[in-house]
Amino acid sequence: MSFRLSLMIGLTGLMVAAACGGGQQAPVTPQPNLDSIRRADSIAQAARDRRAAEERARQEREAARERLESQRRSDSLAAAEAAMARLRESLTTRIHFDFDQSSIRAGDAAALDVKIAILRANPNLRIAVVGHADERGSDEYNLALGNRRALAARAYMVQRGIAADRISTSSRGEEQPLVMGSNEAAWAQNRRAEFTITAGGERLVAPGM
């Protein structure tokens, strides 16, 4: 602002000097004052610089805000991912069976109830249940037994309102033991039903949300 004021004063001075010249004198064509022009140029440049700096500052503020927002977004995404991983884990938690039996144990009913809640909250979700047997018993009979176990798990869920066509069933008999070994500890782990997500598992909604 002070630059502009002194420019005005300077110009006024020139005009006064010209007006007070002798009447007979040829009018003096005002010559450009090079200093004044340079001065004016530098003032304009300074103004441009200032505007650029202001623009940069604005952009930086903008970028910072965006960074913050994206951080917030990714934080909530990670939280959502973690939540979904927990849902998937609940869905794929194995259940186990007594020797040559296919009835659902009391302790495993709770695990199935959790799966039911997740299936209810996610209508597009489909799962597969595969039954397994321990190494005792006939190799071929164990396929039927594993199938029976998968069907028992499915029946439990269907009886509690899950559409049957959302749960496929199969068996691998004793062909895919989880744990090697010929002792009750290994057998107990191998007599199981495994659950996998076959469709609609990309985005899961937690029950009750």
Binding site: D100, S138, Y141, L143, A144, L145, N147, T169, G173
Partner: protein, 440 residues
């Protein structure tokens, strides 16, 4: 060397190493007759003659000798360094001379000689030592032991020798399907010639033979959760899927004796049931059992094709049942005491129709049982270790089964007439054997 000296020197050799071969069933189990009665020393002696060293002939002689031993119908007379005793045919002046008195002195009722007829033919003769005559002559078209069918052709000759002597052909020219670590193989009846059948990097399980061993069917787990059946020509390796098995988990199957029908077990969301498919006309899938709350599986046809024995859990634990081939007239087959008798599985109907072999749990371990179809009485054949999945040889007197008696699961063979038991496989693991019919 005089005959007298030879006879003296050989007397010790006449004590056969097989005479008192171990039979592992001596314990009695409630209501079940255990074991096999075996009278030693009544089987005819057979001597496989030697001759000058010859790779082709020596292989033929070795395979014949082993096949005859495994037939369990002979006392095989073995001599240490046999042909050093000059037990070939002929003599210096008489190439056709057959030294019957010598063979008789060695205890032989029969002598078998393999000679070169020419470069591509081997002549095998069976001599009746007592009758001093040739009983049978067979020529085998083999020029080199590397020939693709060399072993099979020699096995057939052994079966022909058994037929000449006993009236019933042997079972040397047969193969067994077996499962080793998820892959299916065939092995010759003498344990040689292990050949993969199912493709590498796939997982198979059940298998069964068609008539005359011309085709087989096996189950392969799919990439999805199912398992389908494939029918394969074991010679060419060509295979085709059984169309109705593209859905569900299909396993434990059997061809009808005429090969037109394929009965199989299918596990799906209704449980496990037995279906039958017309292989000949590729049509007419029919469900034979309906068990909403029970499983039905493992069909095996009677040799006349009219009945099917199978496993059912309709009374709770799996037991052996029987029905007409169209699914009617289902009834309990092998008797059991409810809540007492162990679970019974894996029935196989004998080729003569008279017996059903299966395994049944005894004190926590499966054991091989045979039921007489007419009287429905059962007897237990094994008690050492876990013994399961019996399969009949086409002669109806040998059974192959899985046993872990030496540690891990291997295929063993028992002769029901003598009680002799031999180990067929020495693999990393072998299970689910299926013994072929005689192979054409």
């Amino acid at each position: 060397m005089t005959l007298a000296r030879l006879t003296m020197g050989l007397s010790c050799l006449l004590v056969s190493p097989f005479t008192l071969a171990a039979q592992d069933t001596t314990q009695a189990a409630g209501g079940v007759r255990v074991g096999i009665t075996y009278t030693p020393g009544v089987r005819p002696g057979v001597l496989v003659l030697g001759g000058p060293r010859d790779v082709r002939l020596d292989s033929v002689r070795a395979i014949l000798a082993r096949d005859l031993e495994y037939s369990d119908r002979f006392e095989l007379i073995s001599l240490p360094s046999g042909d050093s005793l000059g037990l070939g045919l002929g003599g210096a002046n008489r190439p056709d001379y057959v030294n019957y008195p010598l063979y008789a002195a060695l205890g032989a009722d029969w002598a078998v000689a393999a000679e070169a007829a020419n470069e591509s033919l081997v002549r095998v003769r069976v001599f009746d030592v007592g009758g001093q005559a040739v009983r049978r002559e067979v020529t085998i078209g083999v020029s080199d032991i590397g020939d693709a069918n060399f072993r099979l052709l020699v096995h057939r000759t052994a079966d022909e020798i058994v037929r000449a002597v006993s009236g019933t052909p042997g079972v040397a020219a047969t193969r067994l399907l077996l499962l080793q670590r998820g892959r299916l193989y065939t092995v010759d009846s003498d344990g040689a010639g292990l050949m993969p059948i199912s493709p590498a990097n796939t997982r198979a399980l059940s298998s069964a033979w068609g008539p005359r061993g011309q085709r087989l069917v096996y189950m392969e787990f799919g990439a999805d959760d199912g398992a389908r059946l494939w029918i394969m020509d074991p010679v060419t390796g060509e295979r085709r899927a059984v169309p109705p098995t593209s859905e569900g988990l299909n396993f434990a199957m059997a061809f009808s004796p005429d090969g037109t029908q394929l009965a199989f077990s299918r596990a799906n969301d209704e449980g496990t049931d037995i279906l039958v498919w017309n292989v000949e006309r590729t049509c007419c899938l029919q469900r034979l059992t309906v068990g909403r709350f029970s499983d039905n599986l493992s069909p095996t046809y009677s040799p006349d094709g009219r009945r099917i024995a199978f496993v059912s859990t309709r009374a709770g634990a799996p037991q052996i049942y029987v029905m007409e081939a169209d699914g009617t007239g289902q009834e309990l087959f092998a008797p059991f005491d409810y809540g007492v008798t162990g679970t019974s599985n894996a029935p196989d109907w004998s080729p003569d129709g008279q017996h059903i072999a299966f395994h049944r749990d005894v004190a926590g371990a499966p054991q091989i049982f045979v039921m007489d179809v007419r009287t429905r009485t059962v007897r237990q054949l094994t008690s050492l270790g876990r013994n399961e999945d019996p399969t009949w040889a086409p002669d109806g007197r040998h059974l192959a089964f899985v046993s872990d008696r030496t540690g891990n699961r291997q295929i063993w063979i028992i002769d029901l007439d003598t009680g002799r038991v031999r180990q067929l496989t020495r693999l990393g693991e072998a299970r689910l054997p299926a013994w072929s019919p005689r192979i054409d």
